[in-house]
Symmetry: C2
Subunit: 182 residues, 2 copies
């Protein structure tokens, strides 16, 4: 199907640090011209990290767009010339202090493909060692919480986790770690 939609016009409205906004016109297979608002966004990476007590390492932080704090997996934006796996290890260390020896990929997904091209790379690790957070102070006000995976799953099922990538991380980590059976 993708060959049949054609970009007819693209107008840059705003070019920023993390996002850019475009107003596009596309031509549908039936010849209709459709308007599309498109937010181009840097790719992002996060990690579901379990310690030896089977706790998942989460961070609580303020999110300005929704004016509240969310409990989330450690995550951040993919920097130039960095692999997604290296980014997962870097963000985990910066935000929580935990050092992962290795990570494996759980999933790659688009966060909201109706309006943005943001892609998220989700990693998993059960091999972590405690250390000191190395984040820049002031910019990020982050509290680290370690929660039993079973309790995190209950929180996900009962609406206490409100962040999409973190819901996915908890569910996929439970599947990966063999705690969920079909």
């Amino acid at each position: 199907m993708e060959e049949e939609f054609v970009l007819a016009e693209s107008k840059l409205i705003y070019k920023g640090k993390i996002i850019s906004l475009y107003l596009d016109k596309i031509k549908s297979p039936s010849g209709q011209i459709l308007d599309r608002e498109v937010v181009k966004h840097l790719d992002a990476v996060g990690v579901a990290a379990l310690n030896e007590k089977k706790e998942i390492i989460l961070v609580r932080q303020y999110r300005h767009p929704i004016n509240k704090t969310l409990l989330e997996i450690p995550a951040g934006l993919l920097e130039d010339c960095e692999s997604p796996a290296a980014c997962a290890i870097r963000e985990l260390r910066e935000e929580t202090g935990y050092v992962a020896k290795k990570v494996e990929k759980l999933a790659e997904f688009y966060t909201s493909a109706g309006f943005t091209d943001e892609k998220f790379y989700l990693y998993f690790t059960e091999e972590i060692e405690e250390g000191e957070p190395a984040r820049e102070l002031g910019e990020e006000d982050i509290k680290v919480e370690a929660i039993q995976l079973k309790e995190a799953l209950d929180m996900a099922a009962s609406g206490k986790i409100e962040d999409a990538k973190t819901l996915l991380a908890i569910l996929m980590a439970a599947l990966r770690a063999g705690h969920l059976e079909f």
Copy 2:
């Protein structure tokens, strides 16, 4: 923590049909002024609908921001004066023809709270009846696919589902329908 961050300035860059873009300045607890790019987005609703064969009803559609087709749950934007549950039933009918007698909420989550306030309401139903899609032709070029829940779970685990809400819907529907055990 949310009391300690204060909005210092908000500048509207673009006001559109589905999204608006603001450049905000916020003051952190330590007194730093931070720049934030914020996309305000209408809330959205989707539904994990299982038929009597335990198949999940999905739709394949073109997504312009990523220039490819994705396999997704039926979903759409919440319209004024409509409840999220009514929206879930409407979108299911419009996009697939299936009529749900009732739906129950599986989750509410923010799709990418670092830059957008978009909130997603995810519903579940096992009580659906086949009918005719009622969508506007041309605007949406949608193909309906019914996939065994077990197969959809395998697709989620092996990277064949690339849409965040759909990954979540498959995993949470499997939990809800008793197909995943902790």
